[in-house]
Symmetry: D2
Subunit: 275 residues, 4 copies
């Protein structure tokens, strides 16, 4: 059983929490704790051997903790996700394969694409595919159609797996801290369009990818995971795109694993990640 | 103030320890905890804001913990070390530079070499250099001379910074878990002599280095840190040696930092490293 | 058009080859050249802008080169491969996805499994799956059945994508330098069975994977690609297996890309890889 | 003997160059060649076994190559360098150690500091140290004093080893493509001041360092080498600075090795690096 707590810091929190668990005869298998001194914020993630009455434990903990404490006991072990795509296959295929072999720590409910390119692969894996073209009356219509389709599934998270349309603040506000994006650069380098072209033109020796929560500031949300790989002068923009596929797939897979295993806290614009 | 505890595992240890610290009005800045389930072993490292009477806290903790508990409160913050070398300069020079600029978390008391090659660099940094040739009556004489010289300094650790003579169990037994070696391969690959030649002949695509505590079984002691770097078909044995220098220097530096900051526990033949 | 040459080294080979190409009005886009001094062996890979009459160019080059020269002009651009599997899905799924999206630089003709676990995923991608159980009269029967099935497809390469049965020298001899294996360790560390268990017991701080050609000496064939990733004391054997999946998939994918793009030469027990 | 050529591309360059070398009875040990298609630019670096009359070979090659060809035969094997520093020791100490042990492929002639912090380490290695304070009448006076001191040594390269003053275009213009800087971030992320603070505030999961030639556009010159290392939420700005030291030292060391071994070409704002 996982117990997650976030609250303002004060002396004795670890003692209070672990004392309560011991009192409830619960055995702590592992415990990750972090205090953000700059923000006076306390984060803890406990893996507890036994399962117990949630209401009771939450009630007891509330007595001991600051009144702003957010306590999550035994979060949904198998998250439900909807995936948004455009034409590029690599991140989606990786997710579908892990979903099929049950190693995603989540269940893919549906895929929404603004092109039909990736419909067939979804069909092969028996995943519903919704084609919603961006060539609609307006961007608002387009986003409404997507939002309604998503809400029909009521997912825990929405994954932008190389979804190449910019989403409006109105859309984003409907899924706060539930939208996860893979950005094809080592943010904050090469923000915006065509990062591989920018990287080529700048002559960098590394390219990277960033998985992050989506907020209103495009490409500025809390970062979950990042990686880089070496490139050199022989790489054309096309070669960088190709090499980038591998790193994008790996970074998104890692970020999803962390989020789905309840290892990622968000506070202000940063994440605390207990690996 | 650092508090380190190792003991057999049982329910309630975290609660007991953190409760005692809270009771003593001590604020936990960070806490790393690990339970080795296979060996039923508990390890914890606490960084506590305040400094307190050691005897009192140790006494209180002993009441709460299993009788096999090893408790270290406020370990020597600045370790004393003696370094053993042969002819290769890279690890020693890195240690001398960090020592000089006070970023080693330790003080180098002396260097012992079985060649005089590195005497001059030590002199330049005002570090005593002891030349003890291995061309003595016997290996036993050689090792006795080294052991006596080391004991004259009473160091916390002895660092084998590319010391190229094999040490006998009798020697090793005098400095249990205080001898740290850098081995020029990714152990357990290429155990023994000339690992870069072995790597070249095998045609590997990565070479590595391993920092470990020295035990009686040569190259078999608990591993503290390891890294690898890519090589390719164009690397001769000499090129691998040259590339290896960089990785050996980096791995030993990292391992020493971890040990000197009291982040490394040893149990049986493995380490627990709280980074 | 790709031109590949391997022969014993002598003065003037680059001039002779590039002179002949210039004479034939061919433009060299890129050229990778390597001389193995220890073995007096010359390797070159040229990417030429134009396509030309193969027989004529090969005839001309033969006049200029040592009589042991192996010349390959315009090798099959789309290799044919048969994949052997047992129960683990990760390498196979990655290959099937790349095959489906035409980014494998090869065509998967069929999959052979000694269990039926991976039949369904093959069916979903319209790839023939042959179930050949190892529980036959004898190992010889088992291997004969596999060899016959492979030969029915006449593939360029056979990929062992986590095929967990040891193949006999008799079998291997039928597919010299056409068998590519992914080994779940950083060879030559942890040769043999259960490398992750061995890694766990030794307490290493990195685990790795190795893609190599299969020869009669088990796990001793020429290495194509290797990578490592960090692990720590919290990793159980199961955790290492899980982390290993990612690195195995990545290393095999990279090795296949290199081989299928005609970038890998083999001489004696080592590879020359032009990346 | 090293031969380096850069010129506009045309058919037959490799044949012409290698033909001339063969004609001169020179044996090519290794050859790196690259054509920048976007800019129609040809680069080649040859390592030739024999040494030969430079004037004669240069004359012969000029007949065969485009008139814009820049030919360098047998460049100075041991470069002369002047190092500029402020207070941080890590890059300078690394350079001084390699210089002392003759593994720098260059000779340090002098160090110039705008503080006296690093004078003592230079004295210990018998390297002249010039203290030139930036608290002068004007920035122009400051830069003039530095430029005059540098010119007194007539170095091949000037290394900015954590020199923390911004240099004017007038200064830079006096040492075109001879100024090498280490920037404490993965450019182009976190351009400008306090990159580690910026990295901390953005919550990135990697930090990096960039070695580059200095041009008039601050932090925008051709990149020679880059690396990144993982960080996480527990890293304060101070921790990042500390971790950054290691990567800055490694990246600058690598870049200097490449430049001093004549492996780096510059064309427009990018480098071609033959590793």
């Amino acid at each position: 059983m996982i117990v997650i707590i976030q609250c303002r810091d004060q002396v004795g929190l670890v003692a209070a929490i672990s004392g309560e668990l011991t009192h409830a005869k619960l055995n702590i298998i592992s415990m990750d704790e972090y205090v953000d001194k700059a923000n006076n914020r306390f984060f803890v993630r406990l893996d507890v051997e036994q399962t117990i009455n949630k209401q009771q434990l939450e009630f007891e903990l509330k007595q001991l903790l600051p009144d702003d404490a957010v306590i999550t006991i035994n979060p949904v072990p198998e998250k439900k996700v909807v995936v948004l795509v455009t034409k590029e296959y690599h991140c989606l295929a990786d997710i579908l394969v892990r979903n099929y072999f049950k190693t995603l720590s989540a269940t893919v409910q549906a895929v929404i694409g603004n092109h039909t390119t990736l419909q067939d692969i979804c069909v092969r894996f028996d995943i519903p595919f919704h084609y919603i073209s961006h060539e609609q009356e307006s961007k608002q219509h387009f986003e409404n159609a997507i939002a309604q389709t998503i809400k029909g599934y009521n997912p825990d998270y929405v994954v932008l797996a190389k979804f190449m349309r910019i989403l409006s603040p109105t859309f984003v506000a409907q899924f706060t801290m539930r939208l996860i994006n893979i950005h094809h650069s080592f943010l904050p380098a090469f923000v915006g369009a065509s990062p591989y072209r920018q990287a080529y033109e700048r002559g960098v020796k590394l390219i990277g990818a960033t998985a992050h929560f989506v907020t209103n500031d495009l490409d500025e949300g809390p970062i979950i995971a990042q990686q880089t790989i070496p490139v050199n002068h022989t790489f054309t923009t096309t070669d960088m795109v190709k090499a980038g596929r591998e790193i994008e797939t790996a970074v998104l897979a890692k970020a999803l694993q962390l989020v789905f295993d309840d290892r990622v806290f968000v506070y202000k614009n940063k994440t605390v990640v207990f690996e």
